[in-house]
Symmetry: D2
Subunit: 347 residues, 4 copies
Amino acid sequence: MIRFNCDYSEGAHPVILEKLAQTNLEQTPGYGQDPYCRQAAELIKTLCQTPEADVHFLCGGTQTNLTVIAAMLRPYQCVISPDSGHINVHEAGAIEATGHRILAVPEENGKITAQQIARVCQAHWQDDNPEFAPQPKLVYLSFPTEYGTLYSKKELSDIRRVCDEHNLYLFMDGARLGYGLTAEGNDLTLPEIAACCDIFYIGGTKLGALLGEAVVIVNPKLQKDFRYFMKQKGAILAKGRLLGIQFVGLLENGLYFKLAEHANKMAAMIRHACEEAGWKMWYDSPTNQQFPVVPDDALKELEQEYAFAHFKRLDRNHTAIRICTSWATREEDVRQLIADIKRVSAK
Amino acid sequence: MIRFNCDYSEGAHPVILEKLAQTNLEQTPGYGQDPYCRQAAELIKTLCQTPEADVHFLCGGTQTNLTVIAAMLRPYQCVISPDSGHINVHEAGAIEATGHRILAVPEENGKITAQQIARVCQAHWQDDNPEFAPQPKLVYLSFPTEYGTLYSKKELSDIRRVCDEHNLYLFMDGARLGYGLTAEGNDLTLPEIAACCDIFYIGGTKLGALLGEAVVIVNPKLQKDFRYFMKQKGAILAKGRLLGIQFVGLLENGLYFKLAEHANKMAAMIRHACEEAGWKMWYDSPTNQQFPVVPDDALKELEQEYAFAHFKRLDRNHTAIRICTSWATREEDVRQLIADIKRVSAK
Amino acid sequence: MIRFNCDYSEGAHPVILEKLAQTNLEQTPGYGQDPYCRQAAELIKTLCQTPEADVHFLCGGTQTNLTVIAAMLRPYQCVISPDSGHINVHEAGAIEATGHRILAVPEENGKITAQQIARVCQAHWQDDNPEFAPQPKLVYLSFPTEYGTLYSKKELSDIRRVCDEHNLYLFMDGARLGYGLTAEGNDLTLPEIAACCDIFYIGGTKLGALLGEAVVIVNPKLQKDFRYFMKQKGAILAKGRLLGIQFVGLLENGLYFKLAEHANKMAAMIRHACEEAGWKMWYDSPTNQQFPVVPDDALKELEQEYAFAHFKRLDRNHTAIRICTSWATREEDVRQLIADIKRVSAK
Amino acid sequence: MIRFNCDYSEGAHPVILEKLAQTNLEQTPGYGQDPYCRQAAELIKTLCQTPEADVHFLCGGTQTNLTVIAAMLRPYQCVISPDSGHINVHEAGAIEATGHRILAVPEENGKITAQQIARVCQAHWQDDNPEFAPQPKLVYLSFPTEYGTLYSKKELSDIRRVCDEHNLYLFMDGARLGYGLTAEGNDLTLPEIAACCDIFYIGGTKLGALLGEAVVIVNPKLQKDFRYFMKQKGAILAKGRLLGIQFVGLLENGLYFKLAEHANKMAAMIRHACEEAGWKMWYDSPTNQQFPVVPDDALKELEQEYAFAHFKRLDRNHTAIRICTSWATREEDVRQLIADIKRVSAK
């Protein structure tokens, strides 16, 4: 069984394991106050061209999302999110458990628009008693989105402008950031993203690390006391170096981006094979997640040997599935899958 | 500089790193549903003699404490803890952030007694309006305590009895469980602890792992839906195998207990040297944490070469410090420290 | 200016003020433990034919909703509500502030169906990882709905059945319960409602009282420790008798239902006038809230003398407004309004 | 049975009931946006000499405390309170339910000192990892205290100074404020209190109103968005005028202070009788709460006819009780009690 169902089926990239082994017996201070966390933070600030940013390392996406959002909002404020947003769909109510409503806005291709955000704010502030509804204060986006799609530079700038007009913060979930930055057709750079966001993160878990998300707090107003929030949510690792060392490994020689490129390339090959087979793509994703619409007969046969994620039952005979590649995806496995797609679709 | 200030200054025991490397490219399901987590859970249930228990793997102590306590209580209930308890002193209000009061009871030697717990409950229920105060429902203990001391079998059984009488759950923080189980003078076994507690955990972070705490839910009533709580608190790792593999490594050949014994032995050597030097021990700990009262002159000199944790300023000339050993403490470093203690105390 | 914008523009029905004056200097225990609260509770249990129910008195709708919902759910559970539900639209995120998601379902005529509820539950439990989303556990309905409409006996029974099938609680917001029970075409009785719900309340604030909502806990499993929840949310009045006395006044001679009938009658007269004027009703409400679609010219003229609530801007020339009547609405004011509707619509 | 067990055994002062009756049929906007709330707010701002303050009306003490404290703190901050503080003893964990720890400091005579507060802050900020404990940000005091005692002008100024030094807010619970302001020996005026506090409230429930607490937000930084907090906690009454009208009644002719004086005078008479009887006073209170130490025989006899609150069992034969007077206490009842105290103590 070869797994294409997600991008966290393996351990870490070997370079990271080596780095952990090399540094294993060094003694360092705990709680992220070690030289490796500092070095990783410096690397990130340089890459983002944000010398004044604060950088913190957390363990996973849900933990990061709930800690960041709780830190950005007063108790009566809410977060605007695409209805397909990870916080709205896959986090067990973690945001509400911190006391905040998610104001879900209908996505298109996994994205929401500046105009939709503006309308939400106008509706709130035009009410006779705005205080009878949670106050919009924060926009949550993912790049790439849950469906592998990307905001363009224009779309993101428009959203930033609306945020400024309506006094909103902008928070980007970058659990798969690298896949987006290296995708074909992407027109955003890391410094441009950093300049647009109040806060965002660079995801490690889904891109080569054992675990780890690097939160970049660009807006100085949000930097104060962030470690209190982290500690209170159980998000400061005793052996914080575990995260710092991994991000050094990923970032010091551009490994992070090379791994992302590889995964995107593998995904594009699979996409091409699906299209050749006449299978429609449910979303038009240039990144490591692909959503082909597969006839059930073909799917059943493929699933003898491959694991996919079932995304959506479309009709009596078709299912949209999610195929993920990652740093660990082997080209030989992809070629075998392609051959099998060709075979089962030819029947 | 040699660090004795805590037991998480290094990475993981080499056996664990090897195991991570060996399994690195295997593909497994995510979220703790992999074969390694299952194997580790089986090992733990066997060691605890609790075939019906549920076992879950979380990342660190604060995360575990807040997730478990939030899962055990209704919103109006509170947790009884020694005032020195980790949840009361070192967790940034993480428990209150889940909505619950910590009812802190004065510790002696880091411990509280069955009688103290009973008195708290009697006071609550004898009030004319018990509903005007949070309802005691849970006792939180650490084994070993924050001060390295241990509950005896008699003390723990008495507490269990009081819990039964007052309808309380018992939750043991075992962040350093191994050090306690292998300590000289300890009369409790792991199965006895499991039989006494409704829930407890076996700490990995402070005993050889990169990170990881294994929660054992003994009471069937508390098993239901625990993964919802974990997910909501950001406590389910995508690559959950990272935790499972480590606990397999620690437990399959008794490594966990050997490492604890080593640390305890190193601590005893240091303790002996302190006593020889005429330094009083602030607590009588048989485990890996020692609290000698050190004259400031001597301390200043030692701190040229060693890192300790300052525990308490006692008078104008004396400080109680905390010295920690761990699986990674080298006997040669201990011997050097002992020689230096002898030297500075001889002046 | 005559106010038709809501049903809480005046104080209390005179009978209630008299009763408060008569009993004013009696000394009673505080916190709802007085004879009047007991008497009111007995009246309610008799009217509902629920001798085993618990009855508690709270101050207002939002307070009641947040206290009840927090009491019914575990932290990871969520409440299903029509998207137009009061908790979803007018309560400033009060439910989320207790940690719970509102799972909003699209309403039709202010109502949701048994089938919609079933689908939500099926979707949750069929997911591979149900624990990655909040668990549906409670259905929140209003009777009458926010739009003045009513569930039929058949609709409510179907919902109850689906609740039983999916292990859900049913909670009815009865802030305007009396208006519904006395409405033309209603086929539900108070005992039938009580038999269908796990918990519901009889609203006083919007039906003749200064303030006050009487919560009826029918399901014995939900009765335990409810006063802890009330106290923790600041929902136990020191002078609880203020609530008990009012409900005695409202219920001992059927005043509550007479007042509701009066308001419904006044509303029907206004509705008739609107229809005569050729104005469409946006919702088909048999209760004290009416939603005529009014041409802007006419509206502007009427608003010289009357206050309405603007419900929805429909097109360039029309607005749906909300007209409320209450126990305090005077027939002469209604007749004057009707004359003016005739006048402005005749132009 | 004559009740001296609390100061909320009766309804409201007759002037208030009259005012409610007179205004009953007037139509006003809801939610505290009526002319009476505005008038009451103006009266209060004038009395406090705080023309720039915001004034809001809430229902009761616990509701007010939890709403105000939640509004003043970020999630990781805590509130310093005397261990005898109402929020720490009588509110069912309401503060913790909003996510915040109460940092309880040992009281003396119900009070804490500037020095104690300073020490708490110093301890926090001197820690190596302050972020591992909740951050002190707010001091909660009651005037009078739970034991009827008063802070002097000097004591309160010292506390204010320490608050400024450590960047703390000061919040005064004035549930019984009038009793303190009119007490013999009190050297603080209402404007002085207003000048010292960031926020405080003037209690109505325990001083003549049916219910109601008037929150005065002096610090402009805390004024923003307070109504969101109120709404979210269910603390905005639909018929908000009920509160406004009562405070107009209490404050427009100084009634509030006359009622307080009366109660204090009644309490002083009882105190004198107790002292004559040779009964020690457990606290030295100049306000409407008295805490005599009563021999059990005498107590048993008195309790045939009077209700008191049992405060503390002192030894085998003595109990400290709490005797409360109020606006409604009749001098004839006090004289009868005094005679009975004389009688039972003479045996």
